[in-house]
């Protein structure tokens, strides 16, 4: 043992190791525990107070209190400031802790600030080294503070949380996700278009995907015990150059999804359909699989974009005028008439989506990049001939073709 220690003492790296252990060990022992230092924020709300020319920041905060276990105490803390960073600093003072942003999953923006350039408002958060770029951005018609107060009980106990509501959107409703990353990719991209979900806060029951929380006032100490619902109808706000351009409902969003292609699921509703089995029936088909292909061609200098969609659908609901269809139609081969009707329906929906994009000059599908990368010279020439280059969508010819298969 002694000889081993003697030989160890002759190795310089042993002393280096010991020195590092001593320096780091004693330093870390002297540091306060992180749970005593940080207030862990799970959601941030941003409101604007125009009369005071200030921002109001609300933080849904989880304050860890070490007892025998860890009690989960959530609190909404608000503070005002001339800038977001100043307001967050003040919030830290109110809480008596540093604001930890690494666990933020959602940033809620009040609708009133959407006419400002959002990139300026989000600048502080986007520069934060701790806020992950997949943090979701949400807009709401209520104040962000009220929204977070409603969300407070959800985050602490409910089965559905706000971030889960938005994740649902990402996968099933919206064409694009609504994170910081996707917002800035749109903002700095050639189309300068971004999409953000719009959730409403209502006192009574509403249609749509809802998450209900019993709201209790936190800051003033008053108990209002008001039941609020966060309603997700699939509505969204489309931004151009960081400012609100147009607000569209969930149905229009579904149409856009048909053109865009990046979504996992959806439905096609065929109304007033009649054939041998059905009489003025409303048929709902679930989209099981979708492949979207774009093809670009130029005719007389004008780009022609071919949108070819291949859909695999399955009949998920049939509401027949004459009562329930007794025959097990799911197992029958769907006839040509029904397929044609679905095709026509999809074509119409895609046409409406294109009109929506054209009317608002919002290139959600990024046809700009498609055309530019296909033939930069021809596309630049085409753009140079336009009076208003932002209006390029109205000058592009779209040809839609749809193939439908029934599973």
């Amino acid at each position: 043992m002694t000889s081993f220690l003697k030989s160890l003492a002759k190795v310089p790296m042993f002393w280096v190791f010991m020195a590092i252990c001593l320096i780091y060990g004693t330093t870390s022992l002297g540091m306060p525990a992180e749970i005593d230092r940080y207030a862990i924020v799970t959601a941030v709300g941003i409101d604007m107070l125009p009369e005071e020319e200030q921002y109001e920041i609300s933080l849904l905060t989880f304050i860890p209190i070490a007892e025998q276990g860890f009690a989960e105490t959530y609190k909404v803390v608000s503070s005002k400031g001339r800038s977001i960073s100043e307001a967050i600093d003040f919030a830290g003072l109110h809480l008596g802790r540093e604001i930890g942003l690494s666990h933020v999953k959602t940033v809620v923006l009040n609708q009133e600030i959407l006419n400002e350039n959002l990139s300026k408002i989000l600048d502080y958060l986007s520069r934060s080294e701790h806020l992950v770029s997949s943090t979701k951005l949400v807009t709401t018609d209520a104040s962000a503070k009220e929204f977070l107060q409603a969300a407070q009980s959800l985050d602490s106990g409910s089965a559905i949380k706000i971030s889960e509501l938005i994740n649902f959107n990402d996968e099933y409703i919206y064409a694009t996700d609504s994170s910081f990353e996707s917002f800035f990719k749109g903002y700095f991209g050639p189309t300068r278009v971004s999409v953000m979900p719009f959730l409403t806060l209502k006192s009574s029951k509403s249609e749509g995907l809802t998450a209900v929380g019993d709201q209790g006032e936190q800051n003033s100490g008053e108990q209002s015990a008001q039941s609020k619902e966060i309603v997700n109808n699939g509505d969204a706000i489309i931004f151009k150059d960081g400012k609100q351009k147009v607000m569209i409902d969930g149905i229009d969003m579904k149409k856009l999804n048909l053109v865009h292609g990046n979504f996992n699921i959806g439905t096609i509703v065929l109304e007033n359909y009649s054939d041998d089995h059905f009489d003025n029936a409303t048929l709902t088909f679930e989209i099981v699989e979708k492949v979207m292909r774009y093809r670009v061609d130029y005719q007389n200098g004008i780009p022609v974009v071919g949108l070819s969609s291949r859909l695999v659908v399955t009949l998920s609901e049939a509401e027949n005028q004459q009562g329930m269809v007794a025959k097990n139609i799911e197992f029958d081969s769907v006839d040509q008439k029904m397929l044609e009707a679905i095709k026509q329906k999809v074509k119409n929906l895609m046409g409406e989506a294109i009109v929506l994009m054209r009317d608002n000059q919002v290139d959600i599908c990024d046809f700009y990049t498609l055309l530019h990368n296909h033939n930069k010279r021809e596309f630049s020439h085409f753009l140079s001939l336009l009076d208003d280059q932002n209006d390029y969508l109205n000058r592009i010819v779209f040809k839609v073709s749809v193939d439908v298969f029934v599973k």
Partner: protein, 361 residues
């Protein structure tokens, strides 16, 4: 590795680490800023420069299998020109070590431990780096050889995982010839590490037919750099400038969107290991050049000089992001004159000039 000489495999591994480490963090983001999607053109040009240096070394080594680069230079250019040349090599190594340390320091401070100060990082890095460097080429080579398979597997894993997030199609053909040329110049100092081969020329023992191993490893390393760059560009595209640490970011992207836990830790560990090796190699290059300039001095003086200059410059000159980028893009490119202009001229003179006999002063 007998008698402190290095074989083809060991040269290959040394080159692999040298050509990779300082290009996988900030470089891809900075390249995209100038070159956009055409970043691959810039990379191809810079790769060609680097491979050109290795080809020059190969030809020189074939002509003079046993001589040191210093003795060859002295025979052709005299004592003082040789000393000036090696002083420039010392400055080049110091500059590159400074840049690498700063980039890594900023990275760790951002993603791991924001409260840590420079002293803490210096204590964590320098003892090991100095130990590796002064222990000689044999120890560095063997340690790298031991870690090499793990390093390769980890890098390939990072690229493979990164590919899962690379779904963006940014605008192509956005950059001009001028922008590409500017980008080549700005980032040329990230290359030129093959100069190390000339400093250990007499120790390199490569059998006939084994040179392909050296070229294979170098090409493999540069291909990996290219792959990391392209995966990064196709993951972040227009927001590349918001994500300065490429290898970490491509893993982080998959972590955040794919829900793969803290998979980005793999990239952090890899960056730590590579940084240790690269800093040790820069220090070794400095020591070798120092020995050629101040003949007969003990290794203590060369290491002490390096550490003193390094700590002074790091502490008082370039310890923040903007200064680091300014130093890397505006100052260090002028140092690249050494590997990409002076050195090729010297080697061409040695190759096509009269033959120097062994032992000739």
């Amino acid at each position: 590795m007998r008698n402190n000489s290095v074989s083809a495999w060991q040269v290959g591994i040394l080159l692999f680490v040298l050509l990779l480490t300082n290009k996988i963090l900030m470089l891809p983001s900075l390249l995209y800023e100038d070159a956009k999607l055409e970043v691959w053109i810039v990379l191809l040009v810079l790769f060609a420069f680097e491979m050109g240096l290795i080809v020059l070394f190969w030809r020189l080594k074939v002509k003079y299998p046993n001589q040191t680069f210093m003795s060859l230079m002295q025979a052709f250019f005299g004592k003082w020109v040789t000393k000036i040349f090696f002083v420039l090599v010392m400055l080049f190594c110091l500059g590159k070590a400074l840049l690498l340390y700063n980039v890594t320091y900023i990275f760790f401070k951002s993603v791991i431990y924001k409260d840590a100060n420079n002293l803490l990082y210096l204590i964590a890095f320098f003892p090991v780096v100095v130990h590796l460097a002064v222990s000689g080429l044999r120890v560095v080579g063997r340690t790298m050889q031991m870690f090499f398979p793990a390093l390769v597997v980890t890098i390939l894993f990072c690229i493979g995982v990164g590919l899962l997030g690379a779904g963006e199609t940014p605008l192509a053909f956005q950059s001009t010839g001028l922008a590409l040329t500017r980008s080549v110049f700005r980032h040329i100092s990230a290359f030129g590490d093959s100069i190390f081969l000339f400093l250990i020329m007499d120790k390199v023992k490569i059998e006939k037919g084994k040179w392909k191993v050296v070229f294979l490893f170098s090409t493999f390393s540069l291909v990996l750099v290219g792959a990391i760059c392209m995966v990064f560009v196709f993951s972040y595209s227009y927001t590349s400038f918001m994500h300065p640490f490429a290898l970490f970011e491509i893993m982080s992207y998959v972590k955040e969107y794919g829900g793969l836990g803290r998979i980005d830790i793999v990239a952090i560990v890899l960056i730590i290991a590579l940084t240790y090796f690269q800093l040790a190699l820069y220090l070794r290059m400095f020591v070798l050049s120092f020995d050629n300039v101040f003949v007969g001095l003990r290794v203590f003086y060369s290491v002490a000089t390096f550490v003193f200059l390094f700590v002074m410059l790091v502490t008082f000159v370039i310890l923040n992001v903007s200064k680091t980028i300014l130093f890397g893009e505006k100052v260090l490119p002028y140092f690249a004159v050494l590997p990409f202009a002076l050195l090729p001229v010297v080697v061409l003179v040695l190759l096509f000039g009269r033959r120097v006999k062994e032992g000739e002063p």
